[in-house]
């Protein structure tokens, strides 16, 4: 059998027309899909039709004159980087005119084309049905109506891609004014290089490039002046001509009208209202964070009980081997288990994010908040990368590729890790639950969680302002689009949860597992052979009031940890964090979390493990934190250093993966170093300030 080279097809189209939905349906891939522009920022590849069809998905394009990095990716694929056999231009039937504008540009690249029409049902429902036959006649290549969600039209499309037609000679069918055609003809006769196509000449004529020094270049400039003299605006002529052509095609194939948006308009009247809109946005955000707090508790309790039960079981089974028992119960179950407890919160957060993404509300939030971002030198395009960073800074930083202006993009990358990612959630929930909820109740706890997510935003604003200082003008308009509202697709929501769950469990199984082992080992060894005998004299020498606060068993436990390898290092470093009110155990947990902040909760779980021999009922990590003491027996954590601890985690850059992505996206080590330094400094200073102010206030 001869192995055929697969037929290679690229999916090209405006942002948010459904390219990735189609790609996933064709190839069975699970690329992320949402209802706003700019979700896909990288090329993706898959096969369909039993391997005979290779499909390339690329970021959405507004125009082939690429400016932002995601558009350049798309352009590179189109301009021959991929040896394409055909392109499928994906047109949204509800936004046909602008889609046809892009089509007219793609048609000039010379690659054979087919057209995929999406959202045909919606267009028909909204009063602007598209006639496939007429559209096919106008664009001169095969047209397929496809509904990738329902799966209709897919087979015809797959069978039909090989009929892809060589594109029309768009350049001269589009109807440029005679004066322009004549100028192009004259320039073509004078051109010294025969490889220049008429299209290239037209581009040079209409879009001046900086350097124009040669003989021919001068001729081009003269012709351009001539056009200006006859009342033609070269800079907009190209777009104007293409749009006239698009409007003509639209009139012929879709009754020439734009589909209605009555329902979306009605919803927007409320959701983007100057007053209600902002109120609803804030209320929605509060509800998201508060419900994370409320809904997660039963799941959290369930997991805690399960882990406690498992610990008890293993403890019983390993009776008589104290070291192995401690390794498994305190190290592994105490470490990895402490992290697993927070899986529900993270999944609930992702549930809300994917709902907001699926409906199209995110673009509205960007519209409402654009001005605020403008004050710090950013623009609405920064909103979605920053909002994604609340899930995880890594996709957030990658999403900045939709930003064409390098300076604002860099500023956005630098503040993205300040946004409170889902890995910080466990620390907040733990600390709020242990120290704040008993005082402020459940509603207050929800509010506290909400406010913790604002810490990074409030500090991010001046940071962004500093990074964009002196920049007024941007290379590209905001051009934020408000898509029609949609009901989120449950498949996409489920997929997002599944993906996140997998990532979390993978982290728990790898880095958290190994860090737990490491921390347990370092905190257990070296170890006195007979701890009770070893520490009895020093306990006896303690002042009576200290002895009253701390019993002998707890004292031995504390001293064993303090004299371990990790304890020594921690105590050596403790002075650095004492101004923030952190003892050596909190300090150690912070340092252990620098590679990945997820490690902090397991570290606390091991460092504050109540010790299996001293306690009848070990209780939860929350309880052991609330009971923890300084060596003199006073309570270790109060409201102030608890708040400082949370704020430290909210701001500190404890994620190697984020630093690696910053390096990759900026192409230099300078930026990750700056991000790491400023974030860590900010975190430290604020933690110290909070504790010191707290002490002064009392």
């Amino acid at each position: 059998m001869i192995t055929e080279r697969p037929f290679t097809l690229a999916l090209v189209g405006r942002p948010n027309v459904g390219k990735t939905t189609l790609f996933n349906a064709l190839t069975g891939s699970r690329q992320k899909v949402a209802n706003y522009a700019g979700v896909t920022v990288e090329r993706a590849e898959g096969t369909a039709d039993g391997g005979r069809l290779r499909v390339v998905d690329i970021p959405g394009l507004q125009s082939l004159r690429a400016l932002s990095e995601d558009e350049q990716v798309a352009q590179a694929v189109l301009m021959g980087g991929d040896q394409l056999d055909a392109v499928a231009v994906v047109l949204d039937a509800t936004d046909l005119e602008r889609c046809l504008f892009l089509f007219s540009q793609v048609a000039e690249t010379g690659v054979p084309m087919v057209v995929v029409l999406t959202m045909t049902d919606l267009a028909a429902k909204e009063g602007a049905p598209v006639s496939l036959a007429d559209l096919e006649r106008m664009v001169k290549c095969p047209v397929f109506a496809v509904d990738a969600v329902k799966g209709t039209g897919m087979d015809e499309f797959i069978a039909g891609v090989r009929r892809a037609a060589p594109p029309m000679d768009a350049g001269f069918e589009l109807g440029f004014p005679p004066a322009v055609k004549a100028a192009i003809q004259r320039l073509s006769e004078r051109a010294d290089s025969p490889s220049l196509s008429l299209r290239d000449i037209r581009e040079r004529l209409l879009f001046p490039v900086g350097q124009e020094s040669g003989e021919w270049d001068k001729a081009v400039a003269v012709e351009r002046e001539g056009l200006l003299g006859s009342g033609i605006q070269p800079r907009t002529l190209d777009a104007q001509t293409r749009y006239s052509w698009a409007a003509h095609v639209l009139r012929e194939s879709a009754q020439g009208q734009h589909p209605g948006r009555a329902l979306t308009d009605r919803i927007d009247r409320v959701l983007t209202h100057r007053v209600w809109g902002v109120g609803i946005f804030l209320a929605l955000m509060y509800l998201v964070f508060a419900s994370i707090y409320w809904f997660a508790s039963p799941f959290m309790d369930g997991i805690e009980q399960g882990i406690g039960w498992l610990g008890g079981l293993v403890e019983g089974a390993l009776e008589g081997q104290p070291l192995v028992q401690s390794l498994v119960v305190d190290g592994l179950i105490g470490g990895v288990g402490a992290a697993l407890v927070f899986l529900p919160q993270i999944l609930i957060l992702f549930f809300f994010i994917s709902i907001l993404e699926g409906t199209g509300y995110l673009a509205r939030a960007a519209f409402l908040m654009d001005r605020v971002l403008g004050w710090c030198g950013l623009n609405g395009r920064a909103f979605i990368p920053l909002l994604s960073s609340f899930a995880c800074a890594i996709p957030g930083i990658m999403a900045t590729r939709v930003m064409p202006d390098r300076r604002t993009r860099l500023a956005t990358i630098m503040v993205a890790p300040l946004m409170s990612c889902s890995a910080r959630l466990p620390v907040y929930v733990l600390v709020i639950g242990a120290f704040f909820e008993p005082i402020i109740g459940q509603w207050g706890a929800g509010l506290a969680l909400f406010l913790m997510h604002f810490v990074g935003v409030v500090l991010g604003a001046p940071v962004a302002w500093l990074f964009t200082r002196g920049r007024k003008r941007q290379a590209m308009p905001l051009a934020l689009e408000l898509p029609r509202y949609q009901i989120p697709k449950w498949k996409d929501v489920l997929l997002s949860l599944l993906n996140r769950g997998k990532v979390f469990l993978k982290t728990a199984g790898t880095i958290i597992f190994f860090m737990s082992l490491l921390i347990w080992g370092l905190i257990t060894f070296p170890r006195a052979d007979d701890p009770e005998a070893a520490y009895a004299p020093s306990y006896a020498s303690l002042p009576a009031e200290v002895q009253e606060r701390i019993d002998f068993d707890a004292y031995v436990e504390q001293q064993l940890m303090a004299d371990s390898a990790l304890g020594r290092v921690g105590r050596f470093l403790e002075p650095a964090f004492l101004p923030a009110g952190f003892d050596w155990r909190m300090t150690t947990a912070i340092l252990a979390a620098f590679p990945a902040r997820e490690v902090v909760v397991p570290s606390l779980g091991i460092l504050f493990s109540p010790g299996s021999d001293t306690e009848e009922d070990p209780g939860t990590l929350r309880d052991s934190l609330a009971r923890a003491q300084w060596p003199d027996g006073t309570p270790l954590i109060n409201l102030w250093n608890a708040a400082g601890f949370m704020v430290f985690f909210a701001l500190c850059c404890q994620c190697m993966a984020t630093l690696a992505v910053i390096k990759r996206e900026t192409g230099s080590w300078k930026w990750p170093v700056i991000a790491f330094t400023y974030m860590t400094a900010l975190a430290y200073v604020l933690a110290v300030v909070i504790y010191q102010v707290g002490r002064a206030v009392g």
Binding site: A239, R274, F367
Partner: protein, 83 residues
């Protein structure tokens, strides 16, 4: 442009919600003429002003059937006439 006698010419910042206008052209000070044109804001295009965001910026317009949000500062060079 040459038709300086047109009586009603508006700048982008003069627009009010609900107004329907047609683009005449872009002043030389408009830095993003080509990019705005790619988005459908070409001379001759008509649009309706929908609403302003809370702090007066950006503005949502309905052009060629879709909703586009523009910042005042970026679109100030666009000259329009009411229809």
């Amino acid at each position: 442009m040459s038709q300086s006698s047109t009586p009603e010419r508006l700048r982008f910042c003069d627009l009010k919600p609900g107004m329907k206008v047609r683009i005449i052209g872009c002043g030389p000070e408009c830095p993003m003429t080509d990019r705005l044109a790619d988005l459908g804001l070409t001379p001759g295009a008509e649009f309706e002003v929908k609403r302003y965001a809370p702090f007066g910026d950006p503005v949502e317009i309905r052009v060629r059937g879709c909703s586009l949000c523009l910042r005042g500062q970026e679109s100030d060079g666009i000259v329009v006439e009411p229809i």
